[in-house]
Amino acid sequence: MRTYLAFCKKEFQENWRTYRLLSMIAVFVALGIMNPLTAKLIPTLLNGMDMGGVILEMPDPVALDSWAQYFSNISQLGMLALIIVFCGLTANEFAKGTLINVLTKGLTRHTVILAKFTVASLIWTLSYLIAFGVTWAYTIYFWGYETLPHIVVTFISPWVFGLLMIGCLMLGGIAMSGIYGALLAAGGVVIVLNLLNLSPAVHRYNPVTLAGGTYGLLAGTSTPGDFIPALWICAGATVAIVVGCVLTFDRKQL
């Protein structure tokens, strides 16, 4: 526990001093502001554009449009920011050899993995909560308070998918000892899951549907049952990947 806390402290310090934490917060605050603002402004912008005589009848924006933007942005820009910020999470340590000094002092390898996963997850959680909070606050400001149905399943899903991405980045970084390995692992998983999603029968079980698909719960086109199996699979896969990180690192010659 002592070494775990010491390594977590080092991770926080690293994320703070290398501006990773600030970058994540800045991107997710911007996302939070962008979602309701885009929803609010798009109809005005489109109405003001010269469409060559074609008249577009844009309905007045509603709160649901803001949430549509939220899920679209989180699943694309949000995940991209997460991957860019954390692609060096384990990869940099191996590429630079910074773990040698501490591992030869008795720090266990699984402590490194657990501490890194903990801190990256906390930063992701904080960033995600900020984006959610800012979007919600502005949505209420523009359109008034509305109850969000199935709030837990709806909003926990992209967060769990983010944890899966962190696990993939870590495993790729350890297995291939570099940033490209981390990117390959995370990118590869996203591509494979998207290819699998071509089959509608897989949707219920495919973690990638969690990234932005739960908007349907707010729009009333889906039910929580459509996402629960994927949520369990995604959470299970994340745990399995973290265990995989520990086992891979334990066998790695340095």
Partner: protein
């Protein structure tokens, strides 16, 4: 007691056999020079002793406790200075030592005291800038400090001086010499003058085998002298001497001094008899002690 004992250790990477059944033991209290050319397998051997690499065969013991790959408990006795120590560039030296101290389980008070001692020892006591801005020499000195944070009984240094300028090299060697009264030091190098400067024992690793091992004085005795320096007061004596002595022995000659390359004591006795027989009186007759360089070249040839 031996601080480190290696028995029949082998390691290959793919088809390349790096270490081929080496055995050696290092007693406590020595400064041990582990000599070998680049790629000889010095780092591989050291990393196996630290549990960072897994041996194909053989065993390593630190204070009679077996080293295991991965998480080895023997590292509580060991400090390690990699050839190019890597640090977190965003930290300051004191923060890095605090982090290391927390990992080895020192109390906050111990960390503060030990950090100050070590930073003073390596000449970084007044430095408070981020490690990312450090020169190579400063990083090497901080590397020594972090390796000593847990007051190890054994300090393993991998080519601690090879990348440093002469001043940096002297500083690091002085630090190693300074700590050798309390800590056994093993350092790998291909800089033979460094071995000569601070080591009392050495081993030469060549093509995966230990080809020479012992105390420096033992090795030098075992290999006898490598030559003689004979000086005369008159050039005529030099000339006479050079005509009498077997030509194969003459390595270098000046007006009044001749350097002979001898292979054993018999050669040297013969030269002495020759001088007496022909009544040539030298002003200097000196056995040239073999240098580590001679021993090394002899061992690997």
């Amino acid at each position: 007691m031996d601080i480190l004992r290696i028995e029949n250790l082998s390691k290959s990477f793919g088809k390349h056999q790096v270490i081929d059944g080496i055995s050696m033991s290092i007693p406590e209290g020595s400064v041990f020079g582990f000599i070998g050319e680049n790629g000889a397998g010095k780092t591989t051997t050291m990393k196996m002793a630290l549990g960072l690499l897994s041996p194909d065969a053989g065993e390593i013991f630190v204070l009679e406790e077996k080293v295991r790959f991965g998480m080895t408990k023997t590292n509580r006795h060991v400090g390690y200075l990699p050839d190019v120590p890597q640090f977190y560039p965003f930290m300051r030296p004191r923060e890095y030592l605090r982090f290391c101290g927390e990992i080895v389980g020192l109390s906050p008070a111990q960390i503060t005291r030990r950090s100050q001692e070590l930073l003073d020892l390596v000449g970084l006591g007044e430095t408070n800038k981020r490690i990312g801005t450090f020169s190579r020499g400063m990083k090497q000195r901080l590397g020594v400090a972090q390796a000593l944070i847990n007051s190890p009984k054994l300090l393993i240094c991998d080519e601690p001086t090879s990348a440093l300028d002469p001043v940096g090299r002297k500083e690091v060697l002085d630090i190693l010499r300074q700590i050798s009264s309390t800590t056994t030091v093993i350092f790998s190098t291909h800089v033979l003058s460094d071995v000569e400067r601070i080591c009392d024992r050495a081993a030469v690793l060549h093509q995966g085998h230990i080809v020479l091992e012992g105390t420096l004085s033992e090795l030098k005795d075992r290999h006898g002298s490598s030559g003689l320096a004979v000086e005369f007061s008159h050039p005529s004596d030099t000339h006479r001497f050079c005509e009498l002595v077997p030509q194969r022995l003459i390595a270098q000659r000046t007006e009044t001094e001749v350097t002979l390359s001898t292979t054993d004591e018999a050669d040297e006795r013969r030269v002495l008899k020759l001088l007496a027989k022909h009544d040539i009186l030298p002003v200097k007759f000196e056995a040239i002690a073999p240098s580590v360089e001679n021993l090394y070249l002899e061992a690997v040839s």
